[in-house]
Subunit: 709 residues, 2 copies
């Protein structure tokens, strides 16, 4: 109990850091009246959108809360509510800060790059630390209440179910937020660019473009709030799945409590190292922004590497003793520590590969820029080629991670590696959330007619933001890939537990222990793999269509305003920004519902269809295989989309830097098309695949719990 | 033996049909001197390309022949040579006919649509019947020689290995031909369109475009010869895999010889029904080309449905008796017949779904056309959305096919369904191969300045060709999906056979019968799934890059010619067509090597790497899982690419038909970009995934045979 309390304190520390950072951001100069007016419009739009989004989600959430309460009891339903509320809170608070930081970054950038970076990063760090801290606290506090105050045994079914429900709550918010925010932001971005940059020939963020405020609102609700909810759920689900595995594998050993504490302890330690890491983010003499961010990241990683060794020793009461787990593996705390190290190495490699594929300094982005010279078509072809190719190295890193950690400490070793990977979420989210703030700052600078040096400074910050955004997405989906076996194992082990204890869970009584066949030779396993495999594709297709539709609506609205108010283009008339925001809000909320329910309903659908045809054992096998199928194609779909989109975006920036004719050249026009295509790829469909995978898995676990009741 | 001889006769019949059809095509009027001159240039280019391509493949082939002969003996190596030579022959002869039919179709189209359709379809039917007939004969004759003349038992390892090697020979030719041809044709098409249509504003196939002959050459070497090789190998590999399964499952039963004959008998019957079906292709009063083709297809399918019932009864000596197979299932000939019916149903559904996604009469294509109004970016976004979405229904059809046929007759039932599906290859290839001929005819009509009515007629034929081309690709990859379990089962059963008989095959002696674990809970299975999953992505990325590179080179070459010879654009100077053909020949041959070797080397790589880390049992598990992994992602990658590409192409045609502003409008320009992007998607990367899957599977089987020696 003392251990868990210390973890809770670490979580609290991150909240305190958040409070301090918010104060620090808010004390900065908020710029001129014109700047504040623009920022006010963005704030208003973002708040209005998020309020409506969360109201809609709340309706779905209340319905599910009642269903969960009826099926699994109130304690489990409360877990669901905690996950949902904290996930929403992390996103909402992060957004509130970033819509206030944007104008301050614009103002600070007029002084120096270092000043702009400082505020932008601090604002991102608020979101980062809240994501990690709230997720950790949510799991730890509820676990503490259930085990210490309500007296349930740490491995009790109710505790497991309640934690799984907590993950489900977080995931549900996350998929809605990712998708809704993604549709909003990319509908605005794509629509605004097409009609503004391409048709009317005015620069991005030009105040004459009626979609420009909506575009800036989108950065906050999609890239900031949506991303925060996504990482919150990834963090929570991973910790929960690891605890579920600990409860199963360590059942009956002396180390059960220690093993349950270990993932929380890793999270607690890394929250502290992440906070320390933020103070290392400082512009060096070479003025390299990426270098400044890397300093923070490397400091966090190295400190974690050092701290986790004693933490492991303390939690397990030593490093070298061995323990035999219920799945037959023998592990030592030291081996678990090395699994954590592998998790950190996987994170580092994914960061490095992502930078290679999305940075302007390397072959992939340059090849797209080069292909832009021969037109729109070759730009898109090369971008697609890079997006396909970009999946190979991350997949190999994940494969290597699985092999190494499994060799070290079996399935639980893989789980610890993923937990450690995600324990850095505070720092990784901080790097990411800084992006939309600088993007907004650039917009405000443009709209408020600040001197072009300011815009140059914010542009430099923004370009780095493109890479860090791609990194976060690769990191989130990479953790899903590495965690594939963990999520499957949680399902498999849960299922075997119910079958073994079928006198207590009569639903499972007629499945013989040997009947459950997850072998690839079982046709229902192949059926499950295919069905799971189609989900990311169908989901991606729907999401892309939604963005296209929203963007077309924006284009038509902007064209209408330009036509009806000719004064807009001459700068004499003010466009009606609110219309675009309103339109997108409605579109995003409407379009997010169906695809979000796809992963929720699919496991239930597959189970009952296969059950009707082939019986329970094959139905469970098909659902299990589906969980892997959705990860196998989801991993590739998500990485190809996020890396490809980032590469397209930076190929455009590379041309804008003066290559192949620079801004306004034919190559630039082609690159703008590629960027437009990449937008929904990297910011809507691609990142939403990660929560989709998690939901499918979590719903399968809940399905087992419901059937057991 | 009598049965096999009858099958050989059916194969011969298809060759006779081919001879008759060739004579019939060649007797048609070959048009004016100018037309023959153009056609001559296309012939010359196509022949030069294919000769070089096959010379290069021959070098690789000879090396592999020697390796196979050394490792597995001369009889197996001869199997390899038969597969390779016949596959190449089918493609080469088909190409020779189509480069002579094109000009005759152009000439006939100046009389009537019916006359043009007649010659075009007959020329396609030559390729179709040769593909089906030669594949069937190759397998049947070599099987007859091995079993009846050389006296090997039907289920002997040598017979199995020799047939597998025959499949490997066919696959190897196929991947080279698909990729090389695909890079050539799309390099020419994309490059020519970009610089001609988009930049210079001249129509497609305008004789002033120096890339126009290369574009027409590409239709023949890619869409005709490459496609023929692809379907040849799909046919051969499927029949072989089904025979391998028959040898295993029926071992020790009275029906072994009958079961081995059955797939051949299905093939023989359907060759005959396909030939009869070709005579049903006739333009009705409504002048619907698709209707005329459907008549032929439906006639073939219905006749097959009728004929297969008595054929099944004759082969098995009755319909209702049951037999217990070695895998524990009990099947009846009637159940196998119904599996065949299911295979036909799957084919019909895939045709129907493909038409929905790629036809101009339905939502998907129209939504892309609609999105073109708001620019290049939204066109591409909507096209990608449709390409992702288009995978869902085919996957569900395949899933249903697996469930139905497995319920009817176990794994062997699935194999029979796939065999029956592919038995229609003669007719399906005929529908497809007619496309490039009409495409060429249109080109010749344009270049020879024939009246615009002729071009309208060939355009109408060509539009239908876009859909039939997409159908064939969906059909080929769908068979791979449905056959996934068959290919995996062949591997799994082979492996278990070697392990069970390890006194004869000492390499397998140290693997316990229970050690082989294909369960999803085995990390090496997940590793295999991921590794297999990355292959279609990496392969697709390389192929797309190759096309982009080839197209860029064409663009630069054409720009150079336009600049250096200003007379070209005025029609006073003749462009140097040969340069573009030469350049593309070199590029295609060079670029096809590396990606083609990827699936050949991957199973060997995975086996030895995992073997070094985790031992034989897990290495075999990883390779087995890899076979499914490559199908799970490959199915989605291939369908999304081929359906998406077809939809983009027809969205452009829909706009050209006068919607959204018609030709020359901004929407049309955006649609041309989408079409360009779709080109390498649907004609290079997408279709090559099918042979890639097959090669990976076949190499895994050969690896087992080699390790056993």
């Amino acid at each position: 109990m003392v251990g868990v309390l210390i973890v809770v304190l670490c979580g609290l520390l991150s909240v305190l850091y958040g409070v301090w950072a918010i104060r620090s951001v808010m004390s900065a100069n908020a710029g001129s009246e014109r700047m504040q007016e623009i920022a006010g419009a963005i704030q208003e739009g973002a708040q209005a959108y998020l309020s409506r989004q969360y109201t809609t989600i709340a309706i779905v959430g209340v319905v599910i809360f009642i269903i969960v309460a009826l099926l699994l009891g109130i304690a489990v339903a409360i877990g669901f509510a905690i996950g949902a509320i904290l996930s929403a809170a992390a996103g909402f608070i992060g957004m509130l800060v970033s819509v206030r930081a944007n104008v301050r970054v614009a103002q600070a950038s007029s002084q120096s790059l270092a000043a702009g970076l400082d505020i932008a990063f601090k604002s991102g760090a608020v979101t980062g630390m809240l994501v990690a801290g709230l997720a950790l606290m949510g799991v730890a506090v509820y676990y503490l209440i259930l085990t210490s105050f309500l007296g349930y045994a740490p491995g009790d079914r109710l505790v497991v179910d309640a934690l799984v429900a907590l993950g489900f709550g977080a995931s549900l918010i996350s998929i809605f937020a990712r998708l809704g925010g993604g549709i909003f932001t990319k509908g605005a971005d794509v629509g605004g660019d097409l009609v503004g940059k391409v048709e009317a020939g005015i620069p991005e963020d030009d105040p004459r473009n009626p979609a420009t405020i909506a575009d800036n609102v989108g950065d906050n609700v999609g890239d900031c709030a949506g991303m925060a909810a996504d990482l919150f759920e990834t963090y929570a689900v991973t910790v929960v799945a690891t605890m579920v595995l600990a409860a199963i594998f360590f059942a009956g050993t002396d180390l059960l409590t220690a093993a349950l504490l270990y993932p929380l302890a890793i999270g607690g330690s890394c929250v502290v190292t992440s906070i320390i890491g933020t103070f290392f983010v400082r512009l060096g003499a070479n003025q390299s922004i990426m270098g400044a961010l890397y300093k923070g990241f490397i400091a966090t990683a190295v400190l974690s590497l050092i701290v986790l060794l004693p933490v492991t020793a303390i939690v397990f009461g030593g490093l070298t003793g061995t323990v035999d787990l219920s799945d037959g593996t023998t592990i030592s705390p030291l081996a678990l520590y090395f699994c954590g190290v592998t998790g950190l190495a996987v994170t580092g490699l994914i960061v490095w590969i992502t930078e290679y594929y999305t940075g302007t300094g390397f072959r992939p982005v340059r090849s797209i820029a080069d292909a832009s010279q021969t037109g729109h078509g070759t730009n898109v072809i090369q971008g697609l080629a890079i997006s396909l190719e970009a999946t190979a190295l991350p997949a190999i890193v994940i494969i290597a991670g699985i092999i190494v950690t499994y060799s070290l400490a079996g399935l639980f070793g893989i789980a610890i590696a993923v937990t450690t990977m995600l324990a850095l979420a505070g720092m990784v989210v901080a790097l990411d959330a800084f992006g939309p703030v600088t993007d907004n700052a650039g917009g405000i600078a443009e709209m408020a007619d600040l001197p072009s040096e300011v815009r140059n400074t914010t542009d430099a910050l923004d370009a780095v933001g493109n890479t860090t955004k791609a990194v976060t997405k690769g990191y989130a989906i990479g953790s899903a890939g590495l965690g594939a076996l963990v999520l499957f194992a949680a399902y498999n082990q849960d299922l075997r537990y119910f079958i073994a204890n079928s006198e207590e869970y009569p639903y499972f009584a007629d499945i013989g222990a040997g009947a459950l066949d997850f072998s690839l030779a079982n046709p229902y396993v192949v059926v499950g793999l295919f069905f799971g495999g189609l989900l990311p594709y169908l989901f991606g297709g729907i999401a892309m269509t939604a963005v296209g539709r929203a963007a077309s609506a924006v284009v038509q609205e902007v064209r209408r305003q330009f036509k009806e108010k000719p004064g807009i283009m001459e700068g004499k008339e003010r466009p009606d920004y609110g219309r675009a925001v309103d339109m997108l809000t409605k579109a995003a909320i409407k379009e997010m519902i169906v695809p979000s329910l796809l992963p929720v309903l699919s496991p239930i659908f597959v189970y009952f269809v296969v059950y009707a045809i082939a019986g329970k054992a094959d139905a469970f096998a098909a659902v299990g295989a589906m969980l892997l199928g959705v990860i196998v194609t989801g991993l590739f779909v998500a990485i190809s989309m996020t890396a490809g989109g980032g590469a397209w975006d930076n190929a455009k920036k590379y041309i804008e830097d003066g290559h192949y004719g620079g801004k306004g050249s034919e190559a630039h026009k082609a690159a703008v098309t590629g960027d437009t295509v990449g937008d929904p790829y990297k910011d809507t469909a691609g990142p939403a695949v990660n929560p989709m995978i998690k939901i499918t898995n979590i719903v399968a676990l809940l399905l087992l719990a419901v059937l057991a009741h």
